[in-house]
Symmetry: C2
């Protein structure tokens, strides 16, 4: 009972991440969560796609909820990093950036992953990001993953639009995020703003979206 348990590093971390069970699970989960949603995706469909045993999920992640958190954080981290980086670059160049410049730094990274990812990975990640707001149980997890980004951009917009009240800016900001998520989720539908994942088309879509959003923000 009161025996001292010697705990070893539980994650020896294989050098070659391909074939790593954790990565296989995360990859399959990412795709299925993005396609079907979190609630609608069963652990059994994930292990089928990942070709691993059912117990592996609980061994490596503990529960379905923790797997969801891990999947979301793995997707969000690079996006948040890119967003903050772009904002910092814009602010370094110009101490008081325009609304358009701020919105570009905020919207571009999420849309760019659509063609930066290998194969369809980017589109999958984009959809997964969108899903974070569509399921009420999951929203807090997604909000936490993107909290740092939201907070930073809201302050930047506050400085660019000093005449607008905080509450006004907050709901406008919220609507811009809603627009971004809609664009991500509807990326393959007919007449969507984002027709294909070519770099040129993505850049054009970003510009269209930035102009649309900026007009609203300044209204």
């Amino acid at each position: 009972m009161a025996r001292p348990i010697q705990i070893r590093d539980p994650l020896p971390m294989v050098s070659d991440s391909f074939g790593d069970t954790q990565t296989q699970i995360l990859d399959a989960a990412e795709q299925l969560f993005a396609e079907q949603g979190f609630g609608a995706t069963s652990l059994r469909s994930i292990i089928r796609a990942a070709d691993v045993n059912l117990a592996a999920i609980h061994y490596h992640f503990g529960s379905k909820e923790k797997l969801i958190v891990a999947t979301i954080e793995r997707m969000a981290q690079p996006i948040v990093q890119a967003e903050l980086q772009q904002l910092a670059a814009v602010q370094a160049e110009h101490p008081q950036p325009t609304v358009e410049a701020i919105l570009h730094a905020m919207l571009a990274p999420a849309l760019e992953i659509v063609y930066h990812g290998q194969g369809d990975r980017g589109l999958t990640q984009a959809r997964l990001m969108g899903r974070c707001r569509t399921e009420p149980t999951i929203e807090p997890i997604g909000a936490r993953a993107f909290a740092k980004s939201s907070q930073t951009f809201l302050t930047a917009l506050q400085q660019a639009l000093p005449d607008q009240s905080t509450s006004e800016l907050t709901w406008k900001f919220d609507l811009v995020i809603a627009m971004l998520i809609r664009v991500l989720c509807a990326a393959d539908q007919p007449n969507a703003i984002l027709q294909d994942n070519s770099p040129a088309e993505t850049a054009a879509a970003i510009e269209r979206l930035v102009n649309f959003a900026a007009a609203g923000m300044k209204s």
Copy 2:
């Protein structure tokens, strides 16, 4: 076997709709679907809230999916009707209405049900409308219920903004709907555009949203 079966009207329709099993089920389903989503709401939680037998749902509606369709259509019908009516009124007054006037006719009815409904019914219906786009399985059902409205308003906007291409207008229109739904779903969150369901606050929120959306549409 080949006996001529005399089929009576399957819905004798009680004059007093209160106490009607179908209505009780629809009311409970509406609230629970709106609060928890369609997939997350079990038929058993519905019959518990409606105080009816489980078989009653299958007897009156056939399946969970058909109950969902019935719930959505009951909610959508008055909204679509109000939207088309407001648009017709605007067009009757002015042959070529402004973008703002069109958007007002399009956004106001959905937001107004928030305080027109008795008690919390309005807020529930608003959230239910929002849910129609958040669950992928349900989206086609919702789209069908609002198809007539979408189609009509898109043509009206096309006439008001003849310089913009159809595809451009389509994705802008889609983003405006996304904004509306976000407003409906986030109606009770802090810093939401819609703070309470008082008529004055709702009218102000409608104006803010119309201005925000019109600026984007014209960009």
